[in-house]
């Protein structure tokens, strides 16, 4: 249990930042000060091109970055698990169709597709969640399906059928718990990669400019002189937050692998 401590503590810190930003942040994101200030006692990370306190911005940005990650992870997991369960349980044409669809989603290059969609749609956070979720379920569906196929004809499933349990009971109470251990690390990894995608899209200026996320902040720093002025204290805090956030979430998956002897793949 001890090895889960550090990642869980990090996630707890981020969660607090996301839920109660007002309690931690010294200022609100709307307060303006002198622009391009170097770090001092009042502004620990200085101020940006619009005179906003960078530390407060980083804290307020947590909510959106985490939310987009987890929500797209949830969308992908729900779709992927359902499709995987159905495709694995059924052996008819439905399985073929679902796996065909999965393979196609697998082949499509995700980030370029998201970029072109975002360019046409200028998406808000909800749309981004939906798009990222809809493009990431395929790996979940594949592992779930192969696991279901493994256990479909296992003795314990036959025994349950013999004892008179219904198909629904068997799928949800016998098979789903067996599949669950492979779904958890996938959820974590999809979440992490959604956070990376969000940050990347924001960096290209493809997210809603009125909301702040860590990616938007880095993009601002890159485009509005933070980089040329060597203001590392501008882009470094959000960058560190992304890295630590993704790392904490991903390491949960890897620790789980050690615990459950399941080998996860990114």
């Amino acid at each position: 249990m001890r090895r889960y401590l550090l990642p869980l503590a990090l996630i707890a810190v981020f969660a607090t930042m996301a839920i109660f930003p007002g309690l931690i942040a010294p200022f609100t994101p709307t307060e303006r000060f002198t622009t391009y200030q170097a770090p001092d006692k009042v502004h620990i990370f200085g101020t940006d091109d619009m005179g906003r306190d960078i530390l407060s911005l980083v804290i307020y940005a947590t909510r959106l970055s985490l939310f987009i990650g987890f929500a797209s992870g949830a969308v992908a997991i729900v779709i992927g698990t359902v499709i995987g369960l159905v495709a694995g349980w059924r052996t008819d044409i439905l399985d073929d169709l679902l796996m065909g669809a999965t393979d196609i989603v697998l082949i499509l290059p995700k980030i370029p597709l998201v970029i072109i969609l975002a360019a046409y749609l200028s998406p808000g956070p909800w749309l981004l969640i939906l798009v990222l979720g809809l493009l990431s379920w395929e790996s979940v569906a594949r592992v779930v399906r192969s696991k279901v196929m493994q256990v479909r004809s296992a003795d314990f499933v036959l025994a349950a059928r013999c004892l008179g349990f219904s198909d629904t009971y068997i799928i949800f109470r016998e098979i789903l718990p067996v599949v669950f251990p492979v779904v958890v690390p996938k959820f974590v990894l999809v979440t992490a990669s959604a956070m990376i995608s969000e940050a990347s899209l924001s960096f290209l200026g493809l997210s809603d400019p009125t909301v702040i996320s860590w990616g938007v902040m880095i993009s601002d720093a890159f485009n509005h002189g933070g980089f040329i002025r060597k203001m590392w204290y501008w882009w470094m805090p959000p960058a560190l937050c992304i890295i630590l956030g993704v790392l904490a979430i991903t390491s949960l998956a890897f620790l789980h692998e050690r615990g459950a002897r399941e080998v996860v793949q990114l």
Binding site: D155, F156, L158, C162, L163, V178, F180
Partner: protein, 215 residues
Amino acid sequence: MLTLCAREITHAYGNHEVFRDFSIEVAAGETVGLVGPSGCGKSTCARILAGLEAPQSGTVEFCGTDIAGMNGSGYEVFRRSVQMIFQDPAGSFNPVRTIGQSISAVLRLAGVPKAEHRAVLVEALQKAGLQDEILSRYPDQISGGQAQRAGIVRGLLISPSVMILDEPTSALDVSVQAQILHLLKEVQRERGISYVFISHDTAVVSFMADRVVRL
């Protein structure tokens, strides 16, 4: 009186015919041994008899009725009356649920009030020579003999009239095999249920069975 019988069932994988026009009858309270070399379709036959797989031709009848044509309540009676025990003892329990969870799910299905679960379980386990501490264990944490006993306990909870035993001892050590065989005999004496005992080991079958059918 006949309880379960198969009439002229045939099974094939692709073009390879495993068995053809095979018939077997099981009377109440008797043990029918089913023997044959490996790969002759014994397990398939067991699953067909248990209603888990449909024969490609022929019928399986339970108390005189074809199970393929059974309606809801009739099928339910059949389902509760015919149980199966598998070769791999640990494999017949869900690997991520404890033995206790798996067995008490059956009690729930049978409509036993939750308050009585524990008492019923402990008594059933004791009869099979098991301690109640295995209820909190996972299938891979108990020995093959313990798992097989637990499997028999679970199958008996819904009071079947026929048990299909598919190589129930071939994955077990000889000393455990002897114990399980004696347990099965004792259960039969007590409850008068019929067995279809499937094994490749003729010595085991002739020890258990009243008559032997070859596949």
